[in-house]
Amino acid sequence: MLPRPGTAPPALLNRLLEDERSLAYLLLTPTIVLLALFIAYPFVLGTWLAVSSTTVGVAGHFVGFKNFAKAWDDSIFRTAAFNTFLYTGVTTVFKLALGIWLAVLLNRHFYGKRLIRAFVLLPFIIPTVLSTFAWKWMFDPTFSVINWALWKLDLITMRINWLGDPYLSLASVMIVNVWRGVPFYAISLLAGLQTISPELHEAAAIDGANAWQRFWRVTWPLLLPVTMVVVLFSVIQTFADFQLVYVLTGGGPANATHLFATYAYQIGVGTGLLSEGAAISLAMFPVLFLVVVLQLWYIRRVETR
């Protein structure tokens, strides 16, 4: 039965709502439950799996660091580890450089500015799986439209084996990642740029600073905290990337483009060796943890300057 208007709430509830401390706990509870359910529980379960001998449908027992040792002894794991660092490093540099460049361009006043800004976001808005499928067709070994265009322009005489060559396939994956990631950098940095007062630029210009000096001495220092946050998010996402590689190459050819996440998936979910998959996946954790700690420390230092 609904309480009638004017009816006083039960005394206990009233007390809880009145008390700031208990109200805080009450308001935090949904978040804590969600974090516990979807972050803490999977993490603990993943950690347990990594130190057990569980395979699909068979409960395992504790085996210590055996799965990690096995992973380290596995040349494909080492390739995946190398690829993950290379993939993250190279794409982050390109995304940052292109992102800043695009943000500076978009920060200018020109006709159709809003429309262009909306278009720039397209690669980021389209679901990764869909856009990667489109790229897969563009890199297709037989029907690649890129090869066709280059051939028509007399720039190549034979097909480029985008996804069949171990180095080119890794480069292809990186190209798609950069294409997809640049809008995130550009729009976030654009937001950062817009917080910088034009008066600072005007003052610098009056003092005789040229365009490069204005960027390097005024824009860049003020943009740095935003840039660090953007890089932090991007590095975490790129390091743990899965969809793009899974769709584009499946980790191939002959495991040449596996990242931690795709290799963990192949071993854990594909072949059903859950513990070994969990160990490969967990190998990402210390690196990501270090990245987060370092960047948060740096941001804090910049803010308290």
Partner: protein
């Protein structure tokens, strides 16, 4: 029908049907054309691949499944997914103990899930007895000891589809019989921009069904008969890898390293490759759309396609045809209904409809289907007729069990060749694969 609310009349009707099915099996169910034991509350889910012959999926969805629902009185849900996505679905289903009651497996995958599937020996044995016996390869991939882990369904025969006129143009009136001859032919054709198309990628069908028999034909094998001693690193295997490197460069479309099971179909039908190991789906597609697929001379492509077995190597000629089976999942609460559905689908009367729709792409897992009149319809399809009889299961010379399934699903044999054609020394590629096998069998 809610079991708790049965009135006397309904009870007699249901129990009568149950007795009829129990007494006469599927034939009784088919003949009686009335609901057997299952009430409306019973639902059976089945997960299969997206068939390379779409007409067969259409037939299942629009005719066979509705008929099965009527015959069994149960709700049946058929879901189809890309074959490469089936294994992740199985893992997720087993771990969460929820999902389809029946899941299709390919090759010897079912051994990986031995502890998580229901014993279907009764259904498999019954099927074998009634239909002339189950092929050895289908048995090896679905039986562990005496327990059947899955009910064999079909075998997709693998043959090389090739362009008759292009081989004739280089002076060959019949398909090359040895790897050496095939390489020579491929070299000439590649020089004309018509290479051989073969995947060495991570894909469930075309990759292992090529790399395994290729290895066997050179005398290479994973393990000894005891299923324990790894013997991959042998002179024979190294020779096979060395030959493959030259063969690939001389005669193959080098994009094949990134192909899945569909790329060669598209490339062949687009006229960019001269030959490819495949199920009959290339030819069947050319029959389906005769005016869409044409040769460079304007003739219908279907008139220029023939099929041949993989060539011979120093140790003989071998094949690994792709066996398909259905597992009844251990977590299923409807195991009896699921088994009855497999009995129904595997019965001669029902399976025949599906078999005909395949036009020879898949043969049955039992010998009786070799005798079907469908094989008299088209001589181009004849090489597929007894393919299943001649196939060898992965894991040779050991059993096709769990360890062999792990080797297969990790694509180790395929990767051995792929690594070598990408530039790794043949000895190193074999050493790497041998090491991986030791980790599994050791």
């Amino acid at each position: 029908m809610d079991a708790n609310r049965l009135n006397r009349r309904q009870f007699i009707k249901v129990s009568g049907a149950t007795a009829a099915v129990a007494a006469t099996g599927v034939e009784g169910m088919l003949a009686a054309r009335r609901a057997p034991a299952y009430g409306q509350g019973t639902a059976v889910g089945i997960l299969r691949w997206n068939d390379f012959v779409p007409a067969s999926d259409e037939l299942l969805k629009k005719t066979i499944v509705p008929e099965a629902e009527k015959a069994m009185g149960a709700k049946i849900t058929l879901e189809t997914v890309n074959a490469n996505d089936i294994q992740p679905r199985i893992t997720a289903a087993i771990q969460s103990k929820t999902g389809p009651d029946i899941i299709m497996t390919i090759n010897n995958w079912s051994h990986l899930y031995e502890e998580s599937v229901a014993d279907v020996s009764d259904v498999a044995e019954e099927l074998g007895k009634k239909q002339g016996g189950i092929y050895e390869q289908s048995r090896a991939v679905a039986q562990s000891g005496k327990k059947w882990l899955a009910v064999p369904w079909s075998v997709v025969g693998l043959q090389i589809a090739y362009r008759k006129s292009w081989f004739e143009e280089i002076g060959l009136s019949k398909f090359p019989e040895t790897w050496e001859q095939y390489r020579e032919a491929g070299k000439k054709l590649k020089a004309k921009g018509r290479p051989i198309g073969q995947t060495l990628g991570h894909t469930f069908g075309d990759a292992p069904v090529f790399s395994y028999p290729y290895l066997w034909s050179w005398g290479g094998k994973e393990v000894e008969k005891d299923g324990k001693k790894v013997v991959l690193n042998s002179k024979e295997t190294i020779e096979s890898v060395k030959f493959m490197v030259g063969f690939w460069k001389d005669a193959h479309d080098e994009g094949g390293l990134a192909w899945d099971d569909t790329n060669n179909n598209r490339a062949f039908l687009a006229g960019t490759i001269c030959a490819s190991l495949n199920g009959a789906s290339i030819y069947i597609e050319s029959l389906r759309k005769p005016d869409q697929y044409k040769t460079e001379k304007g003739a219908q492509m279907k008139t220029d396609i023939l099929h041949a077995s993989l060539p011979k190597g120093p140790a003989g000629q071998f094949a690994f045809h792709a066996p398909f089976s259905h597992m009844v999942m251990g977590y299923s609460k409807n195991q009896k209904a699921a088994k009855d559905l497999l009995r129904y689908l595997g019965s001669k009367e029902v399976f025949e409809k599906w078999f005909i729709s395949q036009k020879g792409f898949a043969v049955g897992s039992t010998r009786d289907w070799e005798k079907h009149p469908v094989w008299k319809e088209d001589p181009v399809m004849l090489p597929f007729k007894d393919a299943a009889r001649l196939g060898r299961a992965p894991g040779y010379a050991g059993p096709a069990g769990k360890k062999a399934a792990e080797v297969l699903t990790k694509y180790i044999i395929t990767d051995m060749y792929a690594k070598a054609v990408q530039g790794m020394a043949a000895e190193d590629a074999v050493k790497w694969a041998h090491g991986e096998l030791l980790k599994i069998y050791g």
